[in-house]
Symmetry: C2
Subunit: 291 residues, 2 copies
């Protein structure tokens, strides 16, 4: 049970978690903290949070769980805003799409890695953003990856904090898994950040054509699905690109080589290689149902 | 009204059109023609066609509408199989995803372009294939592009044939539009063929990694939608790559340049360019609802 969950940044993710925990009766009180009082009032009126405040000290004093849910470029500011204002036994977690940069920011602001901070990433979302898009089922059967700090075989992150965060996400319906931050960042670069880059780039490329209206008119369901992620929040994705830069550039380079191989097979009319690539892709895609 | 529709190649597209026309009472009899008698019998048992035959002369003799719905590499064979076996006033159309190559094949086999042949492309489909996946609503509100032959301002394709094919697709619920084959091929290369190539390549690239199971486990809804088209029929897409090769390679080269620009913005931490690209893409993607 959580007595008070304080959310820094009440958007799609934080809002959906708040709704899920309240619906399950797992959290007595949800307090939203942010810079925009009007947005917090709207979230309160919408029933996503119980109350909102722009005063970090007031919003954090009674919190036993603190969720940082701000864009990746706003972590340093968020950590500075919460520093010294929470209870010694409060558990802190976050929902950032890249984890090594979050750990770096925490070390920078707190001096060392806080043992009660459990970096986390719920692999869930839609192309929509804002608390208006929040719904309590968002995390159901989705995976949440936690990246507690392990140094020389010793877990620095407190076991109790990991347990508390794991329990919270399970209540929201998620499947929780632990891994290290660098590994998380490499895998997510390939499965999430790279596809977003490819889709953004394709839609932008077409949007710059003279006959853009016709192009989109001729587009079918495959294009619609392929490009859905290109409607995602530009600022969120700018931050992800910059904060997971190395892993993303590596994924892009790796992909570029494979795409070049496919391009050459097309250019040379190499039927065998085309069938090999397409069949291997179809087999892999059919095998994973993404329940 | 169509008395007899003969379909060469009863799969998702041909089967769905048959079901739509029968449901609307627009077609008295649908005959399937192909090489595989067992598959034709199964399509008949499933109620997708009224009868099936491997004998082209028998299947075509009474047809007033002939639909060629075979993979792009099988057109020459299909045209040779139907040549001289249909009524002089029968209308022929097709559903190939590239159109210039189909026109080339027709000229090759028939000596000149048959005036009663209306090249067509229903921009509809799913990642599934085979008549088992057919359903009568597939074309509802979808676009069908016809590419009748125009030379020096004169339409070579018969006006009556264009009318008959247009009427047929409208009965199936489609919106029919005319353009020229080369233009069709360029636009479809960008909106359909290129996205398929990108998705096939990404899934194949990940499928070749050692930790493929983990990679797919960490994949979210965005990845699922982005890669849905990678489950498409490999042979169909091999043929499309080879038969619309020039337009596809041009689209790929154009895209490669834009993707390189985005890559450089990431590498150089160029926040302004990232916001510009992502915002332009989101605006374009939000604007078109793909109803």
């Amino acid at each position: 049970m959580i007595k008070q969950l304080s959310i820094i940044g009440v958007g799609l993710i934080g809002g959906s978690l708040a709704l899920a925990l309240k619906q399950a009766g797992y959290c007595e009180r949800v307090v939203g903290i942010g810079r925009n009082a009007a947005r917090l009032q709207a979230a309160e009126r919408a029933g996503v949070i119980d109350s909102g405040t722009t005063d970090y000290a007031a919003g954090l004093a009674a919190a036993d769980m603190i969720l940082v849910a701000v864009p990746l470029n706003a972590y340093v500011e968020a950590f500075e805003n919460i520093k010294g204002k929470f209870k010694a036994d409060a558990v802190i977690t976050d929902v950032g799409s890249a984890k090594a940069c979050v750990i770096d920011d925490a070390m920078k602001v707190f001096g060392k890695f806080p043992a009660n901070f459990v970096p986390g990433h719920p692999i869930a979302g839609t192309e929509k953003s804002g608390f208006e898009a929040a719904f309590p089922e968002l995390f159901r059967k989705r995976r949440v990856v936690l990246t507690p700090i392990v140094r020389q075989g010793l877990t620095i992150t407190s076991a109790g904090a990991i347990e508390a965060v794991t329990a919270m996400w399970r209540v929201a319906g998620a499947v929780v898994e632990n891994t290290d931050a660098e590994h998380h960042d490499r895998v997510l670069a390939a499965t999430s950040h790279l596809p977003h880059i490819l889709a953004f780039s394709l839609v932008d490329s077409l949007a710059r054509e003279n006959n853009v209206e016709e192009i989109f008119r001729f587009a079918a369901g495959g294009f619609r699905d392929f490009t859905r992620i290109a409607a995602s929040d530009p600022a969120v994705w700018r931050d992800i690109c910059l904060r997971n830069r190395e892993a993303l550039l590596q994924a892009l380079e790796h992909y570029g080589k494979d795409l070049q191989e496919l391009r050459n097979a097309i250019a040379h009319g190499d039927q065998g290689t085309l069938m090999e690539i397409f069949t291997r892709a179809k087999t892999a895609r059919d095998k994973f149902s993404f329940s």
